[in-house]
Structures are given as C-alpha cells and as structure tokens.
C-alpha cells in the first residue's frame, strides 16, 4: 500500500483552507506550514494565458532524500500493517518510510534537530520547530505533514482534505487500482519530480494542460546540494546527545526556576 494525495487543479480555487486547517489540527507554529498554497501566473504558457495554484505538501516519496539524510543512530523498530496485522522489523534512523503504508514519518524523541532532512527535501516540506525540545535536542525538532496518519488511524480523513471546499484534495491508496487516487493517476496525475531525479513523489497533480505546464515550469525543484546536507549532519554528530543533555539540565537549573517563579507571580497578580 502507498498512501498518496491527488490535488485536482481543475477543482482547486486557491482558497488556502487546507493550509489553515492543518495549522489548527497540528498546532503548527504560525511561521511554518506543513502545507502551502502558492498562486502561479497569470502568465503566458505558449500562446495562452494561464494561472493556477501550487498547493504543496510532503510527497511521501518512493525514495525520500530526507530519510537518507538523517544522522540519528538507527534503532530496530517493529512496523505493523494496519490491515493484516503483519509485522516487520526494520532498522531506521529518526525518520523513515513506513514499509506498509508508504508514508514518511519522524520519531521526534530521537530527532537531533539538526535540520539535515529539511535541507535535503527538495520541496521545502520540512521545518525544524524550535518550540519542541527535549534532552536530545534543544534546537527543536523536525516536523512535516504526516498525511494525517493519527487521524487516518482513527478512521478520519486528513484535515486538509476534510476542509477542502471543492473536493480538490483526494486521499487514498495509490496501489489500489480501484481507489479514486489511482484512477487519477491513470488519467495522468503526476508528481513534481525534481530536475533530473527520480524520487517518486506521491502527492500528485491533475489539471488542464496549460495549468499543469505552468505548475511544472514554475515549481519543479532541484535536488538539494547533498554536500551541504552532509556538512550539517557532521556538525550535528559532533555534539553528542549526552552532552546536550548535560547542557540543557544546567540551563534548566538556572533559568527554569526563575521563569516558573515569574509566571506564578504573574498569575497571582491577575
């Protein structure tokens, strides 16, 4: 099974509801987004005018460069197929591609906050949320679209799909030929493959020819400079998690107590 999302640009009216619903659902900090909408054009495409939208999100790629970039020490994780109950054990870093549903996920408790994955993603679909810290990372934690797996596992549809005014976002199993998403792929929906690459994006776009041309012309990304990603990884591994832990504890001892005291005083004043 491979979860995927279709964005039907014939239906999309560019309203940004998807972007805001996601922010509310997952408490995404104001300055970041797990998904986004960009207006493209109006501009000339061949002899015609065209204007459309780029509603972007994580592509949960077949070969995700972000997963390869993660420097966290691998651990064995048991994955379970939601349908059959079958399990498989895989050694994964702090981010991986799920062997059963094909989504790319993050274990924030092991994330080092180095940002290598965010830099490796050609789509800019990841960010480091500085508000999320623990003993492993005081720099924040990588975050991104999960295809709303916690909602899907609870029997709901992704928040962006639920709020979409025109049913322009369709979610489902691309491997199931009877699914609506697979039918869209059969009709020609395609992912924004980076230049010269083949990483298999699973969020795919469908629309009028001129609109798709405009989208691919304006928004086809380049693969990240992996040299830069590697340097970031090296920097991250130089500061061992154990050292960070000690440093954070020290900070907590001094500043933490003062902050807590200040807040309780403020509360009392009210």
């Amino acid at each position: 099974m491979q979860y995927g999302m279709i964005i039907d640009l014939e239906r999309c009216v560019g309203c940004h509801a998807c972007a805001i619903a996601c922010k509310a659902e997952w408490e995404v900090p104001v300055e970041f987004g797990r998904n986004w909408v960009r207006r493209l054009g109006p501009t000339k495409v061949g002899d015609e005018l065209a204007s459309t939208y780029y509603p972007g999100l994580c592509n949960h790629c077949a070969k995700p460069p972000c997963v390869d970039a993660c420097p966290a020490d691998p651990v064995d994780v048991v994955f379970k197929d939601a349908k059959t109950g079958k399990t498989v054990t895989k050694s994964v870093a702090a981010t991986w591609k799920d062997p059963f549903n094909g989504t790319v996920q993050i274990d924030k408790s092991r994330c080092l906050g180095c940002g290598a994955c965010a830099e490796a993603c050609p789509y800019g679909a990841r960010y480091v949320n500085p508000a999320l810290t623990d003993d492993v990372s005081s720099d924040g934690k990588a975050d991104k679209c999960t295809y709303c797996m916690p909602r899907v596992e609870a029997g709901l549809i992704p928040a962006c799909v639920q709020t979409c005014l025109t049913n322009a976002r369709i979610f489902g199993d691309l491997d199931d030929p009877k699914s609506e998403v697979a039918k869209y792929v059969a009709k020609g929906a395609k992912g924004l493959e980076p230049k010269g690459a083949s990483i298999g994006p699973n969020s795919r776009y469908y629309g009028k020819k001129k609109d798709i041309t405009l989208l691919f012309q304006d928004e086809t990304p380049e693969l990240a400079d992996m040299g830069s990603v590697k340097r970031r990884v090296m920097m991250a591994s130089m500061v061992k998690p154990a050292m960070r832990k000690a440093r954070d504890l020290g900070l907590l001892g001094l500043a933490g107590a003062m902050l807590v005291k200040g807040l309780s005083e403020k509360k009392n004043d009210e």
Binding site: A24, L49, D211, L252, L259
Partner: protein, 746 residues
C-alpha cells in the same frame, strides 16, 4: 514583504489562549521548561461543541468547535450541514486566531486624547454605558433623533440599528453592505423582478455561468463555491467579463477582457443581438415580461460593432457569448454579482443583468436564477414606529432625492449634513461593527464627520481604523462566544434527492467570553434604558430573541443543540415560475422618476493621461480589513501586491517584487507601500489590488502598515443617481518609486 509577526507576539497569542488552562500547562506552552509532548495531539480526541455559525465573512457556514481543556483548538464544518458540509474556508478555519487575538478589545475604553489620535483609558461598563446613554440622550434632546447617525455592519449590529431607527427615530443609518456594496443590485432587481436576487443562481445545475466582474475563487463563500464547482465539473461553460485575468477567468471558457466601466454597453449589445436575431425566449417574454417593445427600441442602437468599440473587445466574441447563452437558455446562470458599487452607473448594469435573465427565460428554471424556499422564522426586534419623512435626508419635500435607494439613507447625504449642519445638525455617531474609514470613499470627509460630532461611540471586536475616532469604545463578544442570529436555507442532503431539505441553524457559543466582552443585546438595552426607552425593550437576552425567532418552526435553542446544532425538515421544489412573476424590461416607475426606463449605458470618465484606473477586489484569505490582524491569515497573505500589465511595467522599468507607493489624480498619496506583481493578465489602463490592507491603527500590531489601503486612494466620489450608492472605481493613480511619481504610458 516583511513578516510582521514577532516571536513575542506569537507567545502572547499562545499565553492568551492558555488563560483558562492550569498553570503547569501554561508553563510548558510558553517556555518549554516543563517539557511539552513532542507530538501534537490532533483534535480528533477533543470535545466537539455544536452550534457554531461562522462570521469571518457573512455567509454563516455552520461549524463545530474542537475544545480541549476549555480552549478552542479548531473549527470545522458541522458534519450535519447540508450547506457547507465539513468544509470551511481559510478564514473560517482561522476563527480560532480571532478569538485569541491579543489585540482584541477586552474592556470598555474612554478616549482621553483626541479623536484620531486616541489615548485610551480603561473604564467600567457602568461608566461607559452611562456616558454613551447620557451623551446620546443629550444629542436627541437638543437636536432631535435625526441628530444621531449610525454606521452598522454584521449580525450583531441589526438589533442596535433597529433601536436607533425604530425607537429613537433617526433615518440616518448607512449600512456599508448596502451603500458601498450590494444595495444597487438589490434595488435594481427589485425594480425589475420585485425581488432582491441574492446570489441565488443555480450554478450546480446550469449549462453556462456568466460572471460580470465576479471573481469566484478570490471571492469565497463556501456553499456558493461548491455550487460553482459542481456546475463546472458538470460541464457548464464559464464566461467571465473582467479587465483582469481573475481566479474565475483562469477557469473560464471565454474571457472577455472588457474595458472598465463599459459592462452595461456589453450587456445591451448581447440583449440587442438576441432580440434582433429572434434568439430570446418568446414564450417567457410574452407571459412574464412587461415593456418589451419600449425596451427593444431603446437598446436597438447597441450593435455588436458599437459595443465592441466601446468595450474594447472583438465583436465576434460578443456574438459568440450571446449565441452560447441563447443555445443553452433557459438553463443559464446570469450572476447578479455581490459588490457592485463600481462606477456610479451601476443601477443600469444591474437592471441589464436582470433583463438579460428574463430574455433568456432563466428565472425559476434549472440552472437559472432560482430563489430557495426557506423555512418560516420570526423576526423579533424593536417595534416599528412611523417617524415621518420630515427629517429624512433622502426626501426633498415629497420627492425622493435617490428614488431607488436601498434601506437607510445614502451615505453622502448623511456626511454632507453632518459636516455642514444643514438642513439640521447631526451630533451623535454610533459605529457598530463597520469600519467606515475603510469602507466609505474619501477618508478625509469621514474624519470631518467625526470631528463635527459631540459624541462618537464604537462597538467592535478588533481595534479597526475607525475605532481611533471613538470617544467610547466598547468590546463585543465575538461570534464564537455568543448566541446570535439564525441561518436558514434549503439544499440537497444527497445529490439524487428529488426535493430539497430545509435547514435551520442558530448561532451558539462554542466557548465562554473572556475579559469583559458583552453581546449586542446587553449593550443596546443598557443604552436604551439610559435614553429613557426601558419600556420599549423587546427582549432581555439574545437567547430569548433567538428562541422567539425559532418558535414558528417549533424548535428551541435547546432542541436545536440536542439535534447537533442544525434542524432539518422537508422542503419544497424551488423550480416553477410563479404565475404572477413579472420582469419589467421597461420600468415605468424608473422612467417616471426621470431616469431611463430601459437599461441604458452611461459612459464613465476616461483615464487621464499618465494615470491608470484603480481597481480592487477580494482576497480569498481575507474579509476586507476585518481579518488583517489574524496571524494565520496574515501569514498566508501579508500584503496586497499591485497587478501591473507586463508591457507597462517594462516601460516603467519595474520588475516583479519592486516596492512601490501610489499617488492619485487628486494628489493623495498612499501612507504605505506594496510590491508589484507584473503580469500580462491585466489591461494596460488599470491596476488592481486586494481591498482592505494597510491598516492605520497601531493597536492592530500584525496588520498595521501591511500593504496599501486602496480606500485611502479612492477620494473622487461617484454616486449612482438612482440609488445614492457609491461608485468606487473612478479613481486614477500613478505608481511612485523612491518618492518619484511614474507616468503610466498609454
């Protein structure tokens, strides 16, 4: 494009939202000292609260709230809704950030500085209400009820508006939704078909959608957009007349890149072509229209060639559109539009749209103009009284100045009277939910009005620009914290249902109000008591009012809540032309009042050399100025780039993203700057920007100074002669770069 959200502001927002949460959790949210969970919980486990009715715009989508520990985490469409369903737009979703906006008004405030340069002092409700009551009473005692003017807007403003109109007895009420927006449309259709048209076009079932200037997609109302998309997906052809390649134009089959201001000429040529070539619905015209002969004679000058020249579009394209409409009649959706206060010749354009719908027989048929048959409900408010027309500014002795005005008094009549003191003094001003600084053209004149007052009070949820002119500023509970009006309508539960189902939803609070915010019933009643009108008070609470209005449907707020916030009942077919339905192609009353009885084109002033016409419109993530301070919406769209034709930009040496200001033909400069959007998708003789940006009030810490306030550049007044409504697209601007004005090349 500076991102105007500081970390501090973000933390403030978080802490305000957490005000009702135990301290330990506040600590974790604000500082991360007590470690928060790394994974957000998601809202699927939160408590669902029903009964929400959105007011991020005025479409009133039905909501549920997801509430965690007393805090509203998320808004969703009510799954029981047959109107918006589970969908809500970006603004609807962002209601959470209005609720917890730290800049929201929290306490009654008194201006101890000057109007326009306020210094705010927090006062008690008692002091605030005493002051409002005594000052307004003093105005009435000294100058009569006509000494008060009211600028209301939104659901909560209806009750106070009725108090001042019906009980106090002033005619001087100017609603922006009428005089600066859709009033012309409503009056023109009333003159043609005896009904206000709403946007009741059956786009879901139509074969052709015809939009004049409507930019659906940038203008978002959820069920309307759903209907539009259903029509398009069902194969409807889309015709869009707009000088700009709008969101709708980008989805169109035919884009008519019309010269601004000439739409009526275009419509007359289409109608004349249909008449001359016998392509109109003869049966419908014979049975349901009046004045066909006079009408067809009056429009006969409008040949395709004449209109092509006037509108700067190909004659062949006019013919193509007319033929497409005729071939698909009567199942064609001629959209009446919504904001239509454009050029001061708008009544005639709206009449043209209503007449075109008639020629095509497109009333009460599938895919045409079809009013839905809604449930019967009460209209509880202050009792009506007759106050005569002696002090009605729209009456000159027995003759109306603007005979086809929408309800209320034309804005300019009120402003002129207030500033000149003639024919009588207006000395008290009540602003409720409206932001006249950014809804009414010519801001300097609005300032003069406020400066002429003895007393100005404002009620709002946010410190919008107009609140800077208040003496007393009162904080209102938002739509998420109060009971309020009802939304009722009809729709299909399932696509294959034969008959529509009616629905009734009444606004219920999703969370309790914070700080000292109060609802409109409390505020109005308390002022009424202090003005000597205690005996006239119709209800003691908003719950009482809503229950009275629900009674005809045999439901109550309690029963409504128990059934998920929405009541469903069987409806009736909306199709079938009523026997007595008439379309006045020629309107004798309009003619008798001294205006053209048949739709007539009146040219607008041409763009002076060196200038471009300033056009404005809607942004999908903002409702004018009301949402500018919303951190989520601001993040999606922090500024309003000015659309500039690519060839013009090349001649001016401007590139995409360059920073520019404006100066208009009357020498008024923009207070702020924006960036240029260079595109072939706009005519050379106009520029375009989203309306509502460029907030001046520093208390709106997110929105202040972001983008350009288009309203500040609309200083040349145009008045629609039949209705007295404003036209706001007859203003001309040059761009300024580094302080230098750039001549727009022809």
């Amino acid at each position: 494009m500076a991102f105007n959200l500081t970390r501090r502001k973000f933390l403030q927002t978080a802490s305000l939202a957490a005000a009702t949460i135990p301290l330990s959790k506040v600590v974790s949210a604000e500082t991360g000292v007590a470690k928060a969970s790394l994974e957000p919980k998601g809202t699927s486990g939160d408590t669902t609260v029903v009964g929400g009715l959105c007011e991020m715009c005025f479409w009133r989508c039905q909501l549920v709230g997801k509430v965690r520990d007393g805090q509203l985490m998320k808004l969703e469409g009510n799954p029981k809704s047959i109107d918006n369903g589970t969908a809500i737009c970006a603004r609807g979703n962002a209601g959470v950030k209005l609720l917890y906006d730290v800049d929201r008004l929290k306490y009654p405030l008194k201006n101890v500085g000057k109007r326009g340069e306020p210094v705010w002092k927090r006062i008690s409700w008692k002091e605030a209400l005493d002051e409002c009551g005594s000052k307004l009473k003093a105005v009435v005692d000294q100058h009569g009820p006509q000494g008060i003017c009211v600028f209301p807007h939104g659901a909560s403003a209806k009750y106070p508006m009725h108090f001042f109109e019906r009980i106090v007895g002033t005619h001087n009420v100017s609603e922006a939704s009428f005089f600066q927006c859709r009033g012309i449309r409503d009056s023109a259709y009333v003159s043609t078909i005896s009904k206000a048209p709403g946007e009741m076009v059956d786009m879901s079932n139509t074969k052709v959608i015809f939009l004049i200037g409507s930019h659906l997609g940038e203008n978002i109302h959820v069920s309307h957009i759903k209907s539009y998309m259903k029509g398009l997906q069902g194969g409807a052809k889309l015709i869009v007349a707009d000088p700009r390649y709008s969101a709708s134009a980008a989805k169109s089959d035919i884009w008519v890149q019309i010269k601004p201001g000439t739409d009526t000429a275009y419509l007359l040529a289409i109608m004349n072509y249909l008449v001359q070539n016998n392509k109109y619905d003869k049966e419908f015209v014979a049975k349901h229209t009046a004045g066909f002969d006079k009408f067809s004679a009056a429009i006969s000058e409008w040949t395709l060639d004449k209109a092509a020249k006037e509108c700067d579009i190909p004659a062949a394209q006019i013919k193509e559109v007319a033929d497409l409409l005729a071939a698909n009649a009567p199942n064609v959706a001629i959209h009446p539009g919504r904001h239509v206060s454009w050029y001061g010749n708008d009544f005639q354009r709206e009449r043209s749209l209503a007449c075109l719908t008639g020629l095509l027989g497109a009333y009460y048929v599938k895919g045409g103009w079809v009013p839905s048959k809604n449930p019967k409900l009460g209209k509880t408010s202050w009792a009506k009284h007759e106050h005569g027309n002696e002090h009605n500014l729209n009456f000159n002795k027995d003759k109306k100045v603007y005979p086809f005005n929408p309800p209320g008094t034309p804005t300019e009549l009120i402003r002129d009277c207030a500033i000149s003191g003639k024919p009588y003094p207006i000395k008290g001003c009540v602003v409720w939910g409206q932001n006249p600084m950014q809804t009414i053209p010519k801001q300097e004149k609005m300032k003069q009005v406020f400066n002429a007052m003895d007393f100005v009070m404002c009620v709002d949820v946010m410190p919008t620009d107009v609140t800077m002119w208040a003496d007393i500023l009162l904080p209102e509970s938002s739509y998420l914290e109060r009971h309020d009006q009802i939304k009722a309508g009809a729709g299909k539960v399932k696509a294959d249902d034969k008959l529509p189902t009616q629905y009734i939803a009444a606004r219920m609070p999703l969370v309790a109000p914070m700080f000292e915010r109060k609802d409109q019933i409390y505020i109005t009643n308390e002022i009424a008591k202090r003005m000597g009108h205690e005996k006239d008070i119709p209800v003691q609470s908003i719950e009482e009012l809503v229950n009275k209005d629900l009674a005809p449907a045999n439901i109550t707020l309690d029963s409504l809540k128990a059934e998920g916030g929405i009541h469903l009942q069987p409806g009736q077919s909306p199709y079938g032309v009523p026997e007595d339905f008439m379309v006045n192609l020629f309107n004798e009353d309009v003619a008798a009042a001294g205006f053209p009885g048949a739709p007539t084109y009146k040219p607008v002033e041409d763009v002076p050399a060196g200038y471009a016409r300033l056009l404005y419109g809607r942004a999908p993530v903002h409702t004018f100025n009301r949402t500018q301070n919303n951190v989520w919406l601001h993040h999606e769209m922090p500024t309003n780039p000015v659309w500039l034709n690519d060839e013009v930009a090349a001649k001016l040496g401007l590139k995409d993203g360059d920073t520019v200001g404006f100066i208009n033909s009357e020498g008024v400069k923009s207070r702020t700057t924006t960036i240029v959007k260079v595109t072939p998708g706009i005519r050379k003789d106009c520029v375009y920007m989203y309306h509502g940006f460029g907030t001046a009030n520093p208390l709106m810490t997110v929105g202040v100074g972001q983008g350009v306030d288009d309203q500040s550049l609309i200083t040349k007044l145009a008045i629609d002669p039949e209705t007295g409504c404003h036209g706001m697209r007859n203003n001309f601007v040059k761009l300024t770069k580094d302080g230098k004005a750039l001549d727009i090349p022809a």
